[in-house]
Amino acid sequence: MNKPLAPTGLNLDEPLLWEMGKEGRTGFSMPRRDVESFPLDDDLAGEGPDFPDLNEMGVVRHYTRLSQWNFGVDTGMYPLGSCTMKYNPKINEKVSQLKGFAGLHPMLPAGMTQGALRLMVELERFLGEITAMDVVSLQPAAGAQGELAGMLLIHAYLKSRQMKRNKIIIPDTAHGTNPASAALCGYRPVRVASGEKGILTPEAVARVMDEDTAGIMITNPNTLGLFEEHIEAIAHIVHDKGGQVYCDGANMNAIMGMVHMGRSGVDVLHLNLHKTFATPHGGGGPGAGPVCVAKHLAPFLPVPRILEENGIYSLSEDFPQSVGRLHSFFGNFGVMIKAYAYILSMGAAGLKESSQLAVLNANYIKEKLKSVLHLPYDRPCMHECVFSDKFQRDRKITTLDMAKRLMDFGFHPPTIYFPLVVDGAIMIEPTETESLEEIDRFIEAIRMVAAEAVESPDLLRGAPKRCRVERLDETLAARRPCLMG
């Protein structure tokens, strides 16, 4: 590596699709017409949409150029806290495109889909084993939908015991999807503050837990990158008053093979396959958010469920207590394939080692940067660590300024301004797939940005300078929304 700043390169402009195109061009090989035309009612016939006509190379160049304006994990380090931006193995992409998987219609008779059903059953078992929970549903399409599933499961379970509760406890460090999902289920969030060590205390939970509270939504490890050490006592307090413990498993990457979720008192948890299990983020999705439950919640799981008898698999909706269906079919099978392939490639030792190295990487960064950025909780962290912009405030430099300048050094910024409990939070999660060299380069870049904050703060305020565009006016975008061309 010669200089720390990202060098410039040739990067081409590209118009919007409808600014290109000429009527009559095509980028599609129209299949042969082997039938005559049939009449179409005038009442129903429409004009068709106003789409541009483009040739194939026009489309390929368009998207090739657009891709060059982007930054992916394959481009460089992406230390987004709680997102687990680890390497996405290419063999997993390939196997997800096997014709026998990609071309499979979900409504085929079960006799024709045994391979797919077997994959799902095995994945359910793997995830149950990894989390040490009893039964799994792969149906939720994302973490947030997994959270909704969890809320519905708890609601149904309590109802089956003639209990109707209206509130749920949510820590101040929770991800926004937690209260949003709870609200969808009709639960009013009751906020509980984390203690001075950055984790929940049993006393604080006991103060708010009552017989009108369905339970607690706890993220473990939490969004400060800390293990909720009092989880057992907290679970006890919640269970004692008839409530249930929901665990947001987004941070599972810290604890695979190390922690027994079931023993810690969790009743239901969700996983993010697009985080812990290395399926690609796709610029925002698709992902998958399976739920893993203790036995007593199994009757309420979404349908259909997959049954196995003598090695033959079938789908069944015959679960009268089920909360119902959440997905058009069975969940994001195309994503499940990749997670399944990942688990088969890593094995037990590989997954445990991944978690250990993820935690090692994060602690290493924490030690190296704590003299440069303010570290609100100077304690052993798990797979991510949280800093703040406290040291930079006297120069009127913010977390946002530092994040924007970091781009000029060739890194995607960490998660910023979350969790809310830390003012100007900077949440760094390197994941286990980053090498020591890359991490050292990242640390060096942060050091340089922090130095610039003192010596030449205008460089930060004007950043980024080496991206395709400079800082964008988000206020203008919201004030005069232009959502389509």
């Binding site: 068709g48 939908q145 604890i255 698709p286 190296k368």
Partner: protein, 447 residues
């Protein structure tokens, strides 16, 4: 392991910096009661080559497959469609700048995703005749649920009407989403002609929304114009769902017929069938409801130098800002599938989509007519797009199963969801079925 770059020396060096002796010592904060002592019981890790073999074998596994083809020649639609996907799209999706990127919260280094999704929003809105489209939801079913919740939020009414001819799975998902909100769902029956019967809604004025699917589950095109008028009169939202957006290549789009929200499944637009998921929840509405929409929105803006750029916008609707007051809990969506759809719509073009839609329509009409001439009942008179219902004779099940062994799937039996349709099957024909395929099917069922 090839995904883990740490050497023994790296680990030793880093442990020293952190101040512990072994990797196991990195977990001092995990209490004993939570520790897992037993090793994970998972299969021995496979090499890349073993994994490839294993997955190939698994993907070919089906009892009824006898001619070696991994995928049957089927006439199945019902919410998931077999369409040709140009190789150029599969190739472009392999560009990892798209697939391995995160949600574009840092817009300056995500202009690729942002412009591509802005284009997707535009093409979607144009396809559906709407003025704003979001950056995707999970699938058609959850999109419909979100649409109904949105209508109840805006109208502050607690009753919705749902056609029985909406995909049965979608109606199940709607039930799951709407139950906790204590909303009342009224079911709309069907008419003899295969369309939804809305007569029961005359004069009903406490409806938040009426939802229909067009083309509906039986493939029939609904009379959206009349429904639009009715909804305008009683202040309810008309929500049009769909499972086959290609239909709007030749049919009047929902926006032109008075729909307030159009939401459905975009899998037909360049996304593989994938055993039912991931899908693409397409969601669009009229401009005045923009601020009530669920999901992410990409908007156009300018940078410091006055250059055009794109950002996520109106985020105050979303969970990371509004938390329990958000318009939805959605975070991760179906972005890469939206990108696929945009590429597909761009490749097809305006001229191409009309031609392809017409081809689908004509092929389905050909099969319908050929079956009718072979003596089979076509029970519903309403026009269809690329799916239709046939009433086979009472003993058809034996024929159906015989055809499965020949790798031919003669549609989907409807009786599980419509017990009154005992011998009715839903058949779908897309551009992927040839005249020869269809003639072969008719010959087999008629014999």
């Amino acid at each position: 392991m090839r995904y883990l770059p740490h050497t023994r020396e790296d680990i030793a060096h880093m442990l020293k910096v952190v101040g512990v002796d072994r990797l196991d010592d990195l977990f001092p904060t995990v209490p004993d009661g939570c520790l897992r002592h037993e090793a994970l019981d998972l299969p021995e890790p496979l090499t890349e080559w073993e994994l490839d073999d294993h997955m190939t074998a698994l993907s070919g596994r089906g009892e009824c497959v006898s001619d070696g083809a991994p995928v049957p020649r089927n006439f199945l639609g019902a919410g998931r469609y077999d369409h040709f996907i140009p190789e150029s799209i599969s190739y472009l999706l392999g560009r990892s700048e798209f697939s391995t990127a995160y949600t574009p919260y840092q817009p300056e280094m995500s202009q690729g995703t942002l412009q591509a999704i802005y284009e997707y929003q535009t093409l979607t809105a144009r396809l559906l005749g709407m003025e704003a489209a979001n950056a995707s939801l999970y699938d058609g079913a959850s999109a419909l649920a979100e649409g109904l919740l949105m209508a109840t939020r805006i109208t502050r009414r607690k009753k919705v009407a749902l056609s029985r001819l909406i995909h049965p799975h979608y109606r199940q998902v709607v039930q799951t989403y709407l139950d906790p909100a204590g909303l009342e769902i009224v079911e709309l029956p069907f008419l003899e002609n295969g369309r939804t019967d809305v007569s029961g809604l005359q004069g009903v004025d406490d409806l938040a929304a009426m939802a229909v699917q067009s083309p509906n589950f039986w493939g029939c095109v609904e009379d959206l114009g009349t429904m639009g008028d009715m909804c305008r009169e009683n202040g309810a939202f008309l929500i049009t769902a769909f499972t086959e957006p290609l239909a709007y290549g030749i049919l009047k789009n929902p926006g032109s017929q008075g729909a307030h929200i159009a939401c459905g499944e975009g899998q037909s637009l360049g996304i593989p069938q994938w055993f039912g998921g991931p899908g693409l929840g397409m969601f669009a509405c009229k401009a005045k409801y923009m601020r009530n929409m669920p999901g992410r929105l990409v908007g156009q803006t300018l940078d410091k130098q006055g250059r055009r750029g794109f950002v996520l916008t109106l985020a105050t609707r979303e969970q990371h800002i509004r938390r329990e007051k958000a318009t939805s809990n959605i975070c991760t969506n179906s972005s890469l599938c939206a990108l696929s759809a945009a590429m597909y719509m761009a490749s097809l073009g305006g001229t191409g989509i009309r031609e392809l839609a017409r081809l689908n329509y004509d092929k389905a009409a050909y099969l319908k007519e050929t079956l009718r001439q072979a003596g089979f009942q076509i029970p519903f008179a309403s026009p269809c797009f690329n799916e239709f219902v046939v009433e086979f004779p009472p003993d058809f099940e034996a024929t159906y199963n015989r055809l499965l062994k020949k790798n031919m799937v003669a549609g989907l039996p409807l009786s599980p969801w419509y017990p009154e349709l005992k011998h009715h099957y839903l058949l779908c024909v897309t551009e992927t079925r040839t005249r020869a395929d269809m003639d072969a099917l008719v010959k087999e069922v008629a014999s």
